[in-house]
């Protein structure tokens, strides 16, 4: 293939990919999902603004009864950091739930008969089609995370004068766990073409992950070896929604014990395997 033709083809593929992403945004807008997601985020921001009308710094001082100036600054900073860490967990959980609900319908909709056959007749691979849709979803949720978490960070910063950049870690971490759970949505979308089933399973995985994460306690309570092994196996397989949230909180609190590497790589492997399976099945299906 000549370099010129190669460049032309690459540009054409990029154009196709961008068109698929833009289409996902357009559909999300038309179905009010986009506005719903951003509307609810705005509502949360407004609630937060209302709460912040209570003077956090003065409130903290009065609550803790701090007198000495040097100690006072240190304790206020600690108090704000603790607040940041808990707010990040709330936003992480809220944002992921909302994102799953918002994106669940956007995969099955593209598989509707009469729509999919026309899409497949275009000069693009099935992988491109599904990945374009996947990326479109990730970018919508990424934009929402940026808006929601960024706004709250600005509000807290303006109110307290303490700008904690670690709080912004909630954006990539929320987006990462959503990207992993979206792989499940994609797989179930391809298999069942049902948005409801995708939501049920993804949300269940979030909850199950929170239960499985208590393995250190549960394993001690389980009496048989096989049940302990089963628990631990499931813990390692299921994406670590809970562990990542906990790690994020610890990082914001400057906790050196924070373990984010293991939850990230195990969840990544889960996501990659599930997405690979979805792509494999999608390539093999007849429409």
């Amino acid at each position: 293939m000549t370099p010129n033709l190669d460049t032309k083809l690459s540009r054409s593929r990029a154009r196709v990919f961008l068109a698929l992403i833009a289409d996902t945004f357009q559909e999300a807008r038309a179905r009010w999902l986009f506005w719903g997601l951003f509307g609810l985020s705005t509502l949360l921001i407004c609630i937060f603004l209302f709460v912040m009308r209570i003077d956090l710094v003065a409130g903290a001082v009065s609550f803790m009864g701090i007198e000495s100036t040097s100690r006072r600054i240190w304790d206020i900073r600690k108090f704000v950091n603790v607040s940041y860490s808990w707010v990040s967990v709330v936003l992480y959980t809220w944002g992921t739930f909302l994102a799953i609900f918002a994106s669940s319908g956007l995969i099955p909709s593209v598989l509707e008969p009469g729509r999919i056959s026309l899409l497949l007749s275009k000069p693009m691979t099935r992988t491109t089609l599904l990945m374009g849709r996947y990326m479109g979803n990730v970018l919508i949720v990424g934009a929402n995370d940026l808006y929601l978490i960024g706004s709250i960070w600005i509000i807290i910063g303006l109110k307290t004068g303490i700008w904690e950049p670690r709080f912004l870690l909630a954006i990539p971490i929320s987006l990462f766990i959503f990207a992993v759970l979206l792989c499940v949505v994609v797989l179930l979308g391809v298999i069942s073409e049902s948005a409801a089933l995708s939501v049920m399973v993804s949300v269940s995985l979030m909850l199950i992950s929170s239960i499985l994460a208590q393995h250190q306690i549960v394993v001690k309570l389980l009496d048989s070896e096989w049940s302990r092994n089963l628990w631990l196996t499931l813990y390692w397989i299921v994406p670590k929604f809970f562990d990542l949230g906990a790690a994020m909180r610890q990082i914001i609190l400057f906790d050196r014990e924070a373990n984010w590497i293991v939850p990230v790589w195990t969840s990544s492997i889960f996501g990659i395997v599930v997405l690979w399976r979805a792509l494999y099945l999608f390539r093999r299906r007849d429409y």
């Binding site: 054409s12 289409d23 056959s117 007749s121 000069p123």
Partner: protein, 315 residues
Amino acid sequence: MAQDYAIEAVGLEKIYRPRFRGRSIKAIADLTLRVPVGVKFGLLGANGAGKTTFVKTLLGAVNQSAGSATLFGRDTREAEARRPVGYLPENHRFPTYFTGTGMLDFYAALSGLESRERRRRIPALLESVGLKDWGDVRIKKYSKGMLQRLGLAQALIHRPRLLILDEPTDGVDPVGRRDIREALNALTDTGVTVFINSHLLSEVETFCEYVAILNRGELALEGKMSHLLAGRGYRIAATNVPEQAFEGIRLAGGAVVEGGGNLGSDLEIRIATREEANAVIDRIRAAGGFIESVVATTSSLEDVFIRTTEAEKAA
């Protein structure tokens, strides 16, 4: 390299296997079909004959079980094979959040057209399908005929070399049908191959130069339309033919004998070939009957279709 065939399927087979339990269904069986470049080709078949499966196999929506299929010499399993193809599916469901212009822009982008080219092509295409003033209207407000015309514009947006149309005039009024036919005729004049999958036999008969009939996933008949329709037989009206001669007339050439014919005759006899017609005439005259008229008849595509599918059924 110049290709002789826009579509070439050799020994193509598609078996739908159930996901869990149940019977496998052979939708296409050992299908070999060649569509020359630049022709107007019609694919016919009863419901469930395998037409749509065949088209979807060509377009990569259905994975073939065996055999091979190519578009301009390129394996249909390659995405690039579909670049020169424009497709209008039956029962299409265009996303209703698009405007007419938006929809064309999206599908044109998927076909790899640059944005400048898209901006230039879309207004002209909308005008050519009679939707000039509808470009900015959401397509959920479009009538069925308008959607069909927009679908046709979508199939043409990237100047395809092969147009595959599934029921292209479905829901279109007679004037619109004529317009579509004229537009397609103009396209074939520029060397575009048009492949139509339709139930409307009269339309295929009017438009297509070549036709193939699928029956239960197998190719039942294929050929040039003019060959299939012309010189298909003769009709003889005769009187005063004794009943005992009927059997001889049948034997003379497999002629069909009907009692109570028209044109003032007692009999109307339909015969397939000239030789058989002459033999039948000899028999009638030898039996003392009178020939009232001999008319060369042409079949309609409907006749050909029914004859072919029923013969297959009987076989």
